[in-house]
């Protein structure tokens, strides 16, 4: 079952019709619907390409949150070998919104860390919809320390609506945990590359993405606040999320122009959810290329590279 987004309704109709025709043809052998069905297919393909060529920022948000997109777990399973999850913050809990551990990218051992949203009701609750608590950031800090000690590159996959806004999370120091994770990203003397694969929600995202190289999938988003949140604060109307999404410059394309990210990974026509395998492969290739690009830098060089990169933020790009 394809999960259609609101703006994909016309597409759903056409694809539905083609499917219906083919089902009828299967039922009675005399019917020849091939031509008709193929025409519908072409029409659907054209419409899909058209829709996705000019996705406005709000639609990008919807695509970035599409439940059918590959999630952190899918990337880890497909791209890495010998994935050995490591759990816990050595303090309070193991946060299932953050997954991470040792793994091999090709033969190279790395530490991989990412937000995982879950794929059905059960796993979404288990993963807290990808919203990490302080324990999640502290687990990430611990894993980055491990990587640093054993000279292993770190790969982070970002996909979170944001850090979890809960009472317990506040009591246990959500801000401190995010601050320390960001600080740790800047301190480690090993390559750190990050890919925003869906939602890059605010501090919860930057805690993993203060990296030497940051890539974004074509229809992912990265923002200081959700468009809904921004709309309700600045427009005093959560329904103004379209306007907010526009104003926030949260698309990969805008962020590349602004120099916040380094590269954009193309998605298949119709978004990552339409061809998960191709998307995962493209992300894998980009991770490899970003790591290769850092080859010449020693520990000091890597740390300096990140400092310079983030100190320079905002000094160039975009502006209308």
């Amino acid at each position: 079952m394809t999960h259609y987004l609101e703006f994909e309704k016309p597409l759903a109709e056409i694809e539905g019709k083609a499917e219906e025709l083919r089902a009828m043809a299967r039922a009675s052998e005399e019917m020849d619907v091939d031509k008709e069905a193929e025409a519908l297919d072409r029409k659907a393909a054209d419409l899909l390409a058209e829709l996705y060529k000019k996705l406005d920022p709000w639609r990008k948000c919807l695509v970035a949150r599409h439940p059918g997109r590959p999630h952190c777990k899918d990337y880890i399973e497909a791209l890495f070998r010998e994935y050995t999850p490591l759990a816990g913050d050595r303090n309070f809990a193991d946060d299932h919104a953050v997954m991470g551990g040792l793994a091999r990218l090709g033969d190279q051992p790395v530490v991989v860390i990412g937000h995982e949203k879950g794929h059905d009701t059960k796993t979404r609750i288990e993963r807290n919809f990808g919203m990490a608590r302080p324990e999640g950031y502290r687990k990430a800090i611990r894993l980055m320390d491990l990587a640093d000690r054993f000279n292993l590159p770190v790969v982070t996959l970002v996909d979170t609506p944001g850090a979890y806004p809960g009472k317990g999370a506040e009591e246990r120091g959500q801000s401190e945990a995010i601050a320390r994770a960001t600080e740790k990203c800047l301190q480690i003397g090993v390559p750190l590359v990050s890919v925003i694969i869906g939602e890059g929600g605010s501090g919860g995202a930057v805690a993993f993405a203060t990296a030497n190289r940051v890539a974004m999938l074509e229809h992912s988003i990265y923002s200081v606040i959700s468009p809904e949140g921004c709309a309700s604060i600045l427009w005093k109307d959560a329904e103004k999320m379209r306007e907010a999404a526009e104003a926030l410059r949260l698309t990969a394309q805008d962020l590349e122009r602004l120099g916040v990210i380094d590269r954009i990974i193309d998605e298949p026509v119709g978004g990552a959810q339409r061809d998960r395998e191709a998307t995962i492969a493209a992300v894998g290739a980009t991770i490899g290329a970003m790591l290769d690009g850092l080859d010449g830098l020693d520990r000091e060089g890597l740390i300096q590279d990140r400092r310079t990169k983030f100190l320079d933020m905002g000094t160039k790009g975009l502006a209308a």
Binding site: T84, A93, L146
Partner: protein, 321 residues
């Protein structure tokens, strides 16, 4: 010089423990009550065939299943001064020691060895729960320091299997002092950038948990292992409440952030190989049962140590040996 002169050549010694075979040849699973035949249990790495309970396994058997071809070389631990406190409860401490030595066939509660796992040279140490509850006294402290020094000198990772009721009360304050001593040992490994992996087995409690067992780069526990500082009985007596099922067991600790993994004993070797090789930045391992290392690697004794473990009692005796 201390442990070097007493370095024992690797041999397939593991299977022929001097340990006394229980007369009845049957043991009862403490979890489910099933009577288990001695050999069957041994073949199953001392995991209950009926309920999967992980029973205590002595260091020699543990190492036999851990190392390539079951081959490992023992590294001598500097002896300690016997009974410095002249301790006596219902029995004299030396008498308790003699009894433990007779029933286990071992000199003390920890064994340090070197060998290869998946063709990766490592140092390993394991605590022997059957020897006075694996309790941590000066000897166990020396063993951990020896293991760390050997690891540093040979540039190898250290894998430590913990199992202990806690500190050895018969050594009083000196057993407490093993907490900082073993922590220094862990620091030596960290300074040398060597992986330190702790495998926590049932039970790991008290001062042992509060020192070297909780300072690993990676913490793996065996299923359902009791891991705690204060034991459940003490807590229940203190708070006068019944504790929930599974409290302080491995799975509970995993949920509470203290462990990286909970791993069945039969998968432990493969997992240790995978993790160790990645931490060392080495390529993937050839998995499965490997024959013993070639004779050249086998006879490669550790290089001479510069120093005896700081404050190790009885290093003079070891020198004479």
């Amino acid at each position: 010089m201390n442990w070097i002169s007493n370095y024992v050549r690797p041999k397939i010694n593991s299977l022929f423990s001097r340990r006394e075979v229980p007369e009845n040849l049957w043991s009862k699973c403490e979890e489910c009550g099933t009577m288990l035949f001695h050999r069957e249990l041994s073949d199953n790495l001392h995991v209950c065939t009926s309920c999967d309970h992980h029973m205590a396994i002595c260091p020699r058997e543990r190492f036999a299943s851990l190392f390539d071809g079951g081959v490992f070389g023992e590294i001598e631990v500097p002896e300690t001064r016997p009974d410095p406190l002249q301790f006596r409860d219902q029995k004299k401490y030396p008498d308790r020691m003699k009894l433990a030595q007779r029933t286990t066939g071992e000199a003390e509660a920890m064994m340090v060895v070197q060998g290869e796992i998946g063709r990766t040279p490592i140092i390993a140490a394991a605590q022997d729960f059957s020897f006075m509850g694996g309790s941590m006294g000066m000897f166990v402290g020396n063993a951990i320091i020896t293991a760390a020094q050997a690891a540093v000198q040979m540039k190898r990772p250290l894998i430590l299997f913990s199992a202990a009721g806690g500190a050895r009360m018969q050594e009083g304050i000196l057993s407490l002092m093993q907490m900082p001593r073993t922590t220094v040992a862990v620091e030596m490994l960290k300074e040398a950038g060597l992986p330190y992996i702790v495998v926590l087995t049932h039970p790991t409690t008290g001062g042992v948990t509060a020192s070297y067992a909780m300072l690993g780069d990676v913490h793996i526990a065996e299923p359902n292992a009791l891991i705690c500082f204060a034991g459940p009985r003490v807590i229940e007596q203190t708070i006068r409440e019944k504790l929930p099922e599974g409290f302080q067991r491995a799975e509970y600790l995993l949920d509470h952030g203290m462990l990286d993994r909970v791993t069945h004993r039969k998968n432990m070797r493969d997992e240790l190989i995978t993790i160790t090789r990645m931490l060392l930045g080495e390529g993937p391992a050839i998995m499965g049962d490997l024959p013993a290392p070639s004779p050249e690697t086998e006879q490669q004794a550790p290089p001479p140590a510069d120093t005896a473990p700081t404050g190790a009692e009885g290093s003079a005796e070891a020198e004479k040996a």
